[in-house]
């Protein structure tokens, strides 16, 4: 069976060979993988002055090598290239490269040359253009233009779309995709009964504040947001307001180009506001070190390279980081491009990072207050102003503070006493005794809010540091030429008379006309598609280069990209377009034939099914148990964690204290992200350490993850809270409780078989606890949620087992 499926794949490949050959889809991947290492863009590694990545020019594949040429279009038999790849004694690629060509590949290359050896520019670096929407026969299927592209593609592949998913699956899919939270039974009902249309549901979910949280989960992976520095002592650093910014930006539907500008260059905007400064914390998200004995120059180089890797991966889907030591092996990025990109960020001076305090101080930072706090400040100051009438509030506050400071000083000198008396006198003139109490009250209120302020790292431009090309990436080598900020040469230029800035870079990245905005739009259209279909149209979400995979449906991706920037970079509009398509609605069931035909779901003849992201698995359990605190934003939360998990941390040593207040039950997106020791639950469910850009998380299915869901106190506590709900809200009879539980957790009723399994579990557990009532009390003591006094402990502990079973089901943690 299995062997057959491979045979089948092989057959599919051969059948492709009979079709029209497209350079980017069929030929470039082979040449890139097997030939470009020595005959590609990297001039240092180039052999025999021959490039196979371009046809023309001195070193191009068609150039005259003295009476012969590597590739003679239309004449494979005259092409040296073909002779060499067929040469049994001295084959190309050489045996020692372990890159030998397969017979099918040789056949394809031969045919390509025979048919004229048509080259085309790398697909990703050709700006997207709007293609006409294809004509299709099955006109009753499409909901919007996306569907016409999908259907057309399926037609050419001899496939049909899957039927629509049942409405329960669909509503669950929408909730998890757009908010990361489960729908309530009432919300399911409203949709299934037809009372609420899909469009209405989508509008509501896009307007929900939880939409921003769900999007932030993805964005924070891309930009490698974490609560700790990452290297060596892995100390906490101040950055959580940046996370609030991201959530807010998605909720407010900040246009993506502005979102880009604020993060890369918030500090360079005209009169940047609070949120723009916070956004500029993007430049500070990289891993940094406090290790004693670090060599500053070395770390300047490390940080510069880190920023280039991230900005190019996030916005360009490019691996410019590969050009740190040499020209890129597969793409036209030169080592100069790498350092010129780094020079955009050379106005950041990463200094003053010493000491091992917690949190550590990493200037520049600013004190951040939420919008609500700022409103309160304004009100308090207004009231203060009204109280003291006419006098300046700020000056008075200053005086008050000085008085307090002097009073606190136990070793006052006579001069101090004199000053104190003067100040008090002048203060009393403004705040007379009748006003004193009110003033003090307002001041206390103000101070309480100030205490809740958070520091956050920001960017503030300094004079640009000199940036040199480091030969072979060696930071000790000063022989390389000095470069100034520039975008990769083959992609154009940023035109400015002065040293180009981060703002220029941000503008260039989002300018479809004069910059690489088309590329950026394509990179993100692909990633949004991945978020709602489980796989990108191009599977390589962060490598659009020669070694990445070309899109399975190029015209569709192009049109999405153009639609994205033409809408004014409207993220919510793009998401709405995707999730209201018919393609999105398809069932994710996958018959074996389709699995064999399209194992990676590249043609989208079905929806995808996969385990929920780590944070959502947590959120789902907390939501179902009603433990969830769904406040928006704030400092990071610390859930229960195994004792001693941080014992390997030092400078300083760390003792983890989980939150004992309701912060314990905050959403996964707010969980403290310790780079070196990510919470074991998040880690087991494939959340990344966020040391580097992650555009796609792996989806594993391991015993470690099973142990988490079975035994992590967070899930035990959630199970007992859920059990309590089942007992209280599900009436008294076991049957109605079970129905309630299934509807709550899975949005459906149990069938007879499920009913039997669950009641069996309930019975054996109950009998066990009857014999050991103390154990029942013990299990109900897991976690800090109050133990309810109004239900029987043995019964509640037994229903806790049922709740655990439900929270562990594959169906519960799967997006279908």
């Amino acid at each position: 069976m299995l062997k057959n499926s491979f045979l089948f794949l092989a057959l599919v490949q051969i059948s492709w060979a009979e079709k029209h050959i497209d350079f980017n889809t069929d030929i470039r991947p082979i040449l890139s993988d097997k030939c470009f290492f020595c005959h590609g863009p990297d001039s240092h590694e180039r052999e025999a002055d021959l490039r196979l990545d371009i046809p023309d020019g001195k070193d191009g594949a068609f150039s005259d090598l003295g009476g012969y040429a590597a590739i003679v279009p239309g004449k494979s038999e005259d092409s040296e290239f073909i002779l060499r790849i067929n040469d049994k004694d001295d084959p190309m690629p050489p045996e020692k490269s372990h890159k030998s060509l397969k017979p099918a590949e040789i056949k394809l290359l031969t045919r390509w040359i025979a048919e004229g050896a048509k080259y085309s520019a790398p697909w990703a670096y050709t700006p997207p253009v709007k293609n006409s929407v294809p004509k299709i026969d099955q006109t009753d299927w499409p909901e919007n233009w996306i569907d016409r592209f999908v259907l057309h593609k399926l037609g050419t592949e001899g496939l049909k779309p899957s039927p629509d998913a049942d409405p329960i699956t669909l509503i669950r899919r929408l909730y998890f995709d757009l908010t990361g939270l489960p729908p309530t039974p009432q919300e399911v009902d409203a949709f299934v009964s037809g009372k609420k249309s899909l469009e209405k549901v989508v509008d509501e979910l896009l307007a929900s504040p939880h939409f921003g949280e769900r999007m932030a989960m993805y964005w924070l992976d891309l930009v490698r947001y974490a609560d700790t520095v990452g290297y060596h002592g892995d100390q906490d650093h101040n950055i959580s307001p940046y996370r609030d910014y991201v959530i807010r930006a998605f909720n407010k539907n900040l246009p993506f180009d502005q979102f880009t500008r604020e993060q890369l260059a918030g500090d360079l905007l005209k009169n940047p506001g609070k949120w723009q400064k916070v956004a500029s914390g993007y430049n500070r998200l990289l891993q940094t070190t406090h290790e004693g004995g670090l060599q500053k120059k070395e770390y300047d180089a490390i940080y510069a390279a880190d920023r280039v890797r991230n900005v190019s991966a996030v916005w360009m889907g490019a691996t410019v980081g590969c050009a740190q030591c040499h020209d890129h092996k597969y793409d036209p990025y030169t080592i100069k491009d790498h350092y010129a990109m780094a020079a955009f960020f050379s106005d950041l001076h990463d200094t003053g990072f010493d000491g091992n305090s917690l949190p550590t101080s990493r200037p520049p930072e600013m004190k951040f207050y939420s919008d609500e706090d700022e409103t309160k400040f304004a009100r308090i100051e207004e009231e203060m102003g009204a109280l003291i009438g006419g006098e300046e509030v700020l000056n008075t506050l200053k005086k008050d503070a000085e008085i307090a400071k002097l009073k606190a000083n136990k070793k006052r000198k006579p001069a101090d006493d004199k000053k104190l008396a003067q100040l008090e006198k002048s203060f009393e003139q403004i705040v007379s005794s009748s006003k004193k109490d009110k003033w003090a009250k307002l001041l206390t209120e103000k101070k309480a809010i100030e205490k809740g302020g958070r520091w956050t790292m920001i960017t503030s431009a300094k004079p640009h540091r000199k940036m040199r090309i480091l030969p072979r990436g060696n930071w000790q080598d000063d022989s390389g030429p000095v470069v100034t900020a520039a975008v990769p040469e083959f992609l154009g230029k940023v035109s400015t008379a002065k040293h180009a800035t981060r703002l220029d870079l941000a503008n260039w990245l989002t300018d479809p006309k004069n910059g690489s905005g088309g590329l950026t739009a394509r990179v993100f259209a692909n990633r949004f598609w991945y978020l709602y279909f489980g796989s990108g149209i191009s599977r390589s979400l962060s490598d659009f280069g020669g070694q990445g995979e070309p899109p399975s449906n190029g015209p569709l991706l192009d049109n999405l990209a153009v639609a994205f920037y033409e809408s004014g970079w409207d993220v919510k509009a793009l998401v709405r377009l995707l999730v209201t398509s018919r393609a999105y609605r398809q069932s994710s069931l996958c018959p074996p034939e389709l699995m064999e035909r399209d194992p990676y779901n590249q043609l989208f003849a079905r929806q995808s099914r996969y385990r929920l992201p780590a944070e959502v698995i947590r959120d789902n359990a907390l939501a179902l148990s009603q433990l969830l605190i769904d406040d928006l934003g704030g400092s990071s939360a610390k859930p229960y964690q195994p004792t001693g998990y941080y014992r390997h941390l030092n400078f300083p040593t760390r003792k983890y204290k989980h939150h004992t207040d309701p912060k314990q039950w905050r959403r996964g997106v707010y969980v403290h992200w310790q780079r070196q020791f990510l919470h074991p639950m998040l880690k087991a469910m494939d959340a990344p350490s966020r040391e580097e850009c992650t555009a796609e998380r792996p989806r594993s299915n391991t015993p470690t993850a099973a142990l988490v869901l079975l035994n992590d106190p967070t899930f035990i506590e959630a199970a007992r809270a859920l059990a309590y709900r089942i007992m209280k809200e599900g009436d008294a009879a076991t049957n109605s409780r079970l129905d309630f539980a299934y509807q709550l957790v899975l949005s459906r009723l149990p069938d007879d078989e499920e009913h039997a399994v669950i009641t069996g579990l309930l019975k054996t557990t109950y009998e066990d606890y009857q014999k050991n009532p103390k154990s029942a009390e013990t299990v109900l003591g897991v976690g800090q949620a109050p133990k309810p006094g109004d239900v029987d402990a043995t019964e509640l502990a037994s229903w806790t087992a049922v709740a655990r079973a439900l929270l562990n089901l594959n169906e519960t943690i799967t997006r279908n």
Partner: protein
């Protein structure tokens, strides 16, 4: 079986599945089986025990004796050595030579030179091959560890243990293929990140699993409080039944894998505590190592390493974290060696007695060495040093009694038969039957290798 294969297929959509990875789809047990084409040739070693002396033990107080160093003791360090060289905590300071802080002797028939700090390892002189010409590229602990474990200082790359279990699979169904144990003692220990046993871009089941000596031996491996084994078993059975029932309807291969994962998780709940309980060992064996059940010492970890090796774990990594001797070197060497010397000897002796040393490759060493120059943070010490240091290997086809490579007259630069970290990796892979330059995984368009892009060589001179 077919379903499991499909699961892997789907489960890896996040990664480029190249031919090597594709081969793993053909394996019977995704968790345990080697890649199809591996090993490349007959292996000398079946498993590795890597004794990681974290912090960077001084080669000049362990294996590298230089008469000239004592002669120049207290004199200015000749600038010909240090000019333009990377330097850590001694940046901007006056550099002077620090003579050996202990004595050396010749041991065994091979006459290998070993310091007085290591009287037990000295007894193994004819069993170990000492490499005195190691070099690395990273001078600070965190990146140097990352470099030693992954071959690069860039985060996110797989560690050697992950590479090896990815290539060769595991020989156990009840335990992970790659296990990490840690112990402390010595100078204020260096922090160590879980990045050091990360699977990087390899499938996450190849990630190292840390076994803890206190609390749960593995996170969440114990039943929750108030839940008996019988209840837990009933629960797991119910989950499996319900998943299986659902799968009849939705036919999702992922569910079969999940059922298998729950079965293994449940097995681990019994097997791991049993494995970690060394009190079942005869007193004679406990005495050999100097291990006390439950003390979390390096000695206990050495004994656990043998137990893990017996049970088929492929890569076992022990960290002892106290070797960063910027000052008080004599005192702290005394502590570190006191804690590790005898257990290391016991481990090799025990393996030998059981006939396991011949197919177990044991590697001892830190992430770098220490300077010939004096540093004085609380008594004489030495700073980080990357241009020359010592490591040793034993078992698994290594020729015992071998001295390989040399540093210069002051123990600064490796000058003869220089061994780079990637050469160490290449040699380790070679002993496991893996050809380093053919052992790759496609990631970000590159064929990634543990040994990286620079040329690496197998250290033939230490192999039998």
């Amino acid at each position: 079986m077919i379903d499991q294969t499909r699961r892997t297929f789907l489960g890896q959509t996040g990664l480029s599945v190249g031919s090597a990875a594709l081969a793993s789809l053909l394996s019977d047990q995704a968790n345990a089986a080697p890649l199809n084409s591996l090993p490349h040739f007959a292996a000398k070693a079946k498993r590795v025990i890597f004794l990681c002396m974290s912090g960077g033990p001084s080669h000049l107080e362990t294996f590298d004796y230089k008469t000239q160093l004592d002669k120049l003791n207290g004199k200015a360090m000749p600038t010909s050595f240090t000019e333009g060289q990377p330097i850590a905590q001694l940046q901007g300071q006056k550099l002077k030579v620090q003579g050996h802080l202990t004595k050396f002797n010749k041991y065994g028939q091979s006459g290998q030179v070993i310091s007085d700090f290591l009287p037990h390892i000295a007894k193994l002189a004819d069993d170990i091959a000492i490499v005195r010409s190691m070099v690395t590229e990273q001078i600070n602990h965190d990146p140097a560890h990352t470099f030693m474990n992954t071959g690069t200082a860039i985060s996110g790359r797989p560690s050697m243990g992950s590479w090896i279990t990815y290539g060769l699979g595991s020989e156990t169904q009840d335990l992970p293929g790659f296990v990490v144990l840690t112990s402390v003692g010595g100078r204020n220990p260096q922090p160590i990140a879980s990045r050091q046993w990360s699977a990087g871009f390899l499938p996450s089941r190849h990630q190292g699993v840390e076994f803890n000596s206190a609390g749960d031996p593995v996170h969440y491996v114990s039943n929750p409080k108030g839940i008996s084994s019988a209840q837990q078993s009933a629960l797991v059975e119910a989950i499996k039944k319900l998943d299986r029932k659902r799968n009849k309807l939705v036919v999702n291969p992922e569910i079969d894998t999940r059922i298998a994962a729950y079965e293994m998780a449940f097995r681990m709940q019994t097997s791991v505590p049993g494995l970690m309980d060394i009190s079942t060992e005869p007193q004679r064996v406990l005495d050999l190592y100097g291990a006390k059940p439950g003390d979390g010492s390096y000695a206990s970890n050495c004994l656990l390493a043998r137990r893990l090796a017996e049970r088929g774990v492929r890569f076992i990594q022990l960290y002892h974290r106290g070797w960063d001797h910027h000052g008080g070197l004599e005192k702290y060497m005394g502590i570190c060696c006191g804690l590790t010397d005898r257990p290391t000897w016991a481990l090799l002796t025990d393996l030998k007695e059981r006939g396991m040393l011949e197919d177990t490759l044991v590697i001892w060493g830190g992430e770098f060495g220490r300077t010939p120059m004096f540093q004085g943070k609380g008594g004489a010490g030495r700073d980080h040093h990357i241009k020359g240091f010592s490591m040793w290997m034993a078992g698994g086809g290594v020729k015992g009694g071998t001295s390989y490579g040399e540093t210069d007259e002051l123990g600064y630069n490796a000058v003869k038969d220089v061994v780079h970290v990637r050469d160490l990796h290449a040699t380790m892979l070679h002993q496991l039957g893996l050809q380093h330059d053919r052992f790759s995984y496609p990631f970000q368009g590159l064929d990634m290798k543990l040994t990286g892009v620079e040329k690496a060589k197998v250290i033939k001179g230490i192999l039998s």
